[in-house]
Point group: C2
Chain length 214, copies 2
């Protein structure tokens, strides 16, 4: 199915395809052409065909793509059914919200533990999980073998925690801290969510817009 290494730009587009195709399937659409999908998504048909062909031929000449099948294939590529055991470190504002708001199960992960160094948060219930103290972290990792970690901790704490987690065998990180995980752990799979950076990009856009209207 796969054809060598697929570029990062293509991978970043897959979740969006997956979302659109899920919607279309829910709406009862059976087939769709690359042209029609391109119009709905604001892309070129060429790009869509190129993207899909990185993983092999999902379509049929003269017909297009079967929506349900394509949706499933992309889900498979993304690994949405992997249910990789995952822990969260940091149960502050952001951690709590992420744990409650994100459907990990539908996106390839299973949240099995939440940890915080603040003793006041210990025992707090988040969904079906109870926040544990970081003293329990090592033992938990040894017995439950989580593969991924969500880091919702401030930057100063992140370096040490990351070192620990890597030593416990965790290889994938969803990183909400400002700590540059990838620089210290080049082998880890890291997905950064720098909300502050995103907001500043918006600021740039708004500033430019106002400058143009002056």
């Amino acid at each position: 199915m796969s054809k060598g290494t697929v570029s990062r730009s293509v991978i970043r587009r897959l979740p969006r395809y997956y979302r659109f195709l899920g919607e279309l399937e829910k709406q009862g659409l059976i087939r769709i052409s690359s042209r029609e999908l391109s119009e709905r998504m604001g892309l070129t048909a060429s790009q869509i065909r190129q993207d899909f062909n990185c993983f092999g031929g999902f379509g049929q000449q003269g017909y297009g793509y079967n929506v349900k099948e394509l949706h499933e294939k992309i889900g498979e590529i993304l690994g949405v059914n992997m249910a990789s055991p995952t822990i969260m470190i940091g149960a502050g504002n952001l951690g709590k919200a992420i744990a409650a708001h994100i459907d990990f199960n539908k996106r390839g992960f299973k949240l099995i533990g939440i940890f915080d160094s603040n003793p006041e948060l210990e025992g707090m219930q988040i969904g079906s999980l109870e926040v544990k103290g970081t003293a329990e972290l090592e033992q938990f990792c040894k017995s439950s073998k989580p593969e991924a970690a969500v880091l919702c901790i401030p930057k100063p704490a992140a370096a040490e925690v990351a070192n620990l987690l890597v030593s416990y065998g965790i290889s994938a990180f969803w990183n909400f801290s400002h700590y540059d995980l990838k620089l210290a752990h080049a082998n880890a799979v890291v997905e950064n969510v720098h909300l502050g950076d995103s907001l500043m990009t918006l600021s740039y856009g708004l500033k430019k817009l106002e400058d143009e209207n002056k």
Copy 2:
């Protein structure tokens, strides 16, 4: 200062430069060369010089860049001191966390109102703000003229809310919903934060890693 239009790829790197330079300044560093910065950030020196030169010459041949000055210049480009009046729509898990966790003031915005359609949340205190009902939204926008909005609402509600806000004169959106704002409002400045997409990208990476180790 500016030299025509700057590419999106460059803009996306600016907040990271800003962060690193802020750190270096805090550490007391006076000057830095593109080569040294490149090593710390994991980029090429060439790219750094190209990036900075999109906005004019910030450096000095034979010397490098003044850290404090460069930090300030990039902050200015990003508009970190604009304090653009901003409202948030949606005070659920995610909205609450974003409002409490993000320092809007340091990133070009000033959060002046939070709205939710759920009457049970009305009156809830978040930081220095009190959640208002959506009935007050129109009046508030007319009197306080917010320029940006943070959308922390589910997808089904987003289309209608976005239309309203655009009609009230809001031109920049920090969009946490899965609604594709930019497709419907091409003129708006939109920064999407698709947390689910980000998590699925991580899933792909983890899956690939495990495949490789098999």
